[in-house]
């Protein structure tokens, strides 16, 4: 897990960035995750990893380490 592995084009990075900044999206992250992931265009593998909080896999896919905590 390193910042150097970050894929800044990964849709899941955009999703978490906006969830952190926006309380309404944070609520949807809890209550309506599937629709939210569809809207941001996550791949099936990203969706699975995020759904299952598979931190290792998310890191491999290029999620930024800052988004893998809390």
């Amino acid at each position: 897990m390193s910042i150097l592995n970050t894929d800044k084009t990964l849709p899941a990075n955009k999703l978490i960035f906006e969830v952190r900044r926006d309380a309404a999206k944070r609520e949807r992250f809890r209550s309506d995750l599937e629709a939210l992931m569809r809207e941001y265009g996550l791949s099936e593998e990203e969706k699975r990893a995020l759904r299952e909080v598979d931190i290792r896999r998310l890191a491999e896919l290029g999620m930024h380490p800052y988004f893998l905590r809390r």
Binding site: S2, I3, K8, K14, R20, P65
Partner: protein
């Protein structure tokens, strides 16, 4: 002509305000004394404005568009960001900006090869909330915040950071009115937020880095304090020291003196601060 009255760099890790009581008593005492000394010296220099440089913790810039540096041009700032308020445990505060100086920095740096972003709407987290709480707790010194990219590759190289610091000092001095300006980098030292070394502090690296800055040999600092070495000492956190290299550039040929260093596992960060104010 503006005058640069102080150049400093210091850690901003949120444990300092968020969970200081979890640290051993001697660490708390040393940290508070260190920040206290730095605050006293800064206020004694009587700056009208602090130009700050610090990592943006992926709070303000979507990954589509991460600038190396973004100058805050608002006339007034509020912190901490809602997302971060509980964690950093700093009550809401307001501090003046300096819109004219910020715009001047953007314009004039542009003529010197630095295409700086600018924004009236930066959100603050620990990057400013922690240092201001200790250094200017009355929030009575204006702040021009410069958020920088220390964590989304590609990162600005150490040499680039150093040159930016030199340019920043030059354009600040070229400000036509009388103004006392402090340059303040925040971030570091070794820490790895959320990463493999989260509960570890690389004291050896930190002491090496502080000693290196103390040589005043910028060329050697830039050769030896590489991004790779910073990352090895704590991924995603230690690289905030790139902001310190901006301050080193702004300081010119002076050597840094260490004000304090507290390797605090409880705060999950090598906490420390330096100044380049010795003549």
């Amino acid at each position: 002509m503006a005058e640069i009255v102080s150049v400093i760099a210091l850690a901003h890790a949120p444990g300092a305000t968020g969970w200081l009581d979890k640290a051993p008593k001697h660490e708390q005492d040393e940290l508070l004394a260190g920040y206290g000394r730095m605050g006293k010296a800064l206020r004694a220099a009587q700056p009208d404005v602090i130009v700050g440089v610090a990592n943006d913790h992926l709070l303000n810039f979507p990954m589509e568009s991460v600038p190396d540096w973004c100058v805050g041009t608002a006339a007034r700032w509020r912190g901490p960001a809602e997302w971060f308020r509980d964690w950093v445990n700093v009550p809401p505060y307001e501090v003046a900006g300096n819109r004219d100086l910020a715009r001047h920095i953007v314009r004039e740096s542009g003529k010197r090869g630095f295409n700086l972003a600018f924004s009236d709407a930066l959100e603050f987290d620990d990057n400013w909330s922690v240092p201001l709480k200790f250094l200017t707790p009355q929030y009575d010194v204006a702040l021009v915040p410069i958020h920088m990219n220390c964590v989304v590759p590609p990162l600005p190289a150490p040499e680039r950071c150093h040159v930016f610091g030199q340019v920043l000092a030059d354009v600040v001095r070229a400000w036509p009115e009388r103004l006392r300006v402090a340059i303040m980098a925040t971030g570091g030292l070794s820490h790895d937020p959320g990463g493999d070394r989260y509960f570890d502090v690389d004291e050896k690296f930190d002491r090496w880095f502080l000693e290196l800055l103390g040589t005043g040999d910028a060329g050697r600092v830039l050769r030896e304090a590489t991004i790779e070495r910073m990352i090895a000492a704590g991924d995603g956190g230690t690289v905030e020291l790139l902001a310190w290299l901006v301050a080193m550039g702004a300081a010119g040929r002076r050597a840094a003196r260490t004000d304090f260093y507290v390797p605090s596992v409880a705060l999950r960060c090598g906490m420390g601060g330096v100044n380049w104010n010795a003549v």
